[in-house]
Amino acid sequence: MDARLNFLEAPIVPPAGDEPPVVRLRHFTRRFGDNTILSDLNLDIAPGEFVALLGRSGSGKTTLLRTLAGLDSAEDQDVTVPNSRAVVFQDARLLPWKKVWRNVALGLRGGDIKDRALSALDEVGLAHRVDAWPLTLSGGEAQRVALARALVREPKLLLLDEPFAALDALTRIKMHRLVLDLWRAHRPAVLMVTHDVDEAVALADRILVLDAGRICAQDRIAIPRGERGELARPYREKFLRILEGSAPSDAVIPFPAGGHQ
């Protein structure tokens, strides 16, 4: 098969950058009652790294993301996240009683708030809708507003929870381009939850697979983003085999892997 897939079989070591990771979880555990959703989970995300998180429904992806977003308390646990972070949820969660630009400006501190909101909206191509009411936006437009609202804060960590799941295929591809452009311009670390292997392959530097409460596999994609067209299918098969437990054991890469740390 494609030689470029070989690295999937070898332990992947996150590049030992000079900068400390922006996200660092060690032995993180999350329970709801007797239900252990995440157990002993370790995760590092480097500054500016684009990470996709795959996993079957109910595997705890949203739970993990909520922890990183600071929406669930993680008392007494070894969790490091940057102070400046922003979330884009699957539903845009715009306040319907605030005009689009005021939604983007929500909670901004400092001067020229309106100018900052307007230029963020301009970046996502919605300069003409700044005075619209959110309920008059299409789903794709609402998600772009949500992206603008997240990015206007210049977060060090951008959390995306299946942000494009509700969009049609064409709009989704457009949104992928937009997200990549924005990511290149602002360079936040990104953790994107998705069900869509194609999406993960197209966008991410690194793909994580969450299963049974921990990161059960991960892979770094070194190929430039434009040349990943034929990569999605083998990846999908790979991840399916990992989730079914029939993948060769060295494809399941415990984290932290290798000599990192």
């Binding site: 929406l71 922003a86 969660r93 306040l95 605030k98 929500l106 909670g107 959110p134």
Partner: protein, 256 residues
Amino acid sequence: MSVLQKLAQSRWFSPLALLAVWEAGSRLGLIPERTLAAPSAVAETLLGMLTSGELPSNLAVSFGRVLSGLAIGVTLGIVLALVAGLSRKGEAAIDPLMQIKRTIPTLALTPLFIVWFGIGETPKIALIAFASMFPVYLNLYSGIRGVDLRLLEGARSFGLTRAEQVWHVILPGSLPSLLVGLRYSLSISILVLVVAEQINASAGLGYLINNARDFMRTDIIVVCLMVYAVLGLAADWIVRTIENRALVWRPSLVKA
């Protein structure tokens, strides 16, 4: 289609027909004046009461009572709902009392209010205030509790302080409920006004009606009933106007 045919199909037909039958009945002596005055007589009385200033001055008195009662009641309702809706302690302190009160019809308290406050203006205003407080309280409280948690969480994820969350999310989110409560409060306040003004009033619409009853002036009674109806319509119009302005963002009201 002839004018008559058109009229027969319009929504105005039955009320107009009723008026015509009523008028004809009065003219033919089928409906005695002391049972019900003829529409023409009512119109005449209305004009007379307007020009003499009798109606405007009494209306102003009643209006003042509703307004003061509402101002007190609605303010109290809003404050209590905010306290109960925004804090657990407030909820524990206030909500049980409010739910108990809900089981007692306000008008049943009239005798007690007369004992406490006498027969002057105070019991009238107090009754209106007391009655109009509850719809506002109940609706605003449940509105605050029903605010979309996902929106609140979104706001929280952007680092809004608790005060900012209340201001940007909870209050605007519960505004539609508050307006529903306000609408009920307005109509209840007029209902209570009617009863409260039966308490030994020396001015106001209720006073006019009581006087008219003693002299069997059905024309004046009908005029006052019409004024009550107009008050009710005006109250509805006021809330509708507020809604149209405050809730422009709602889909049904958003213009393309």
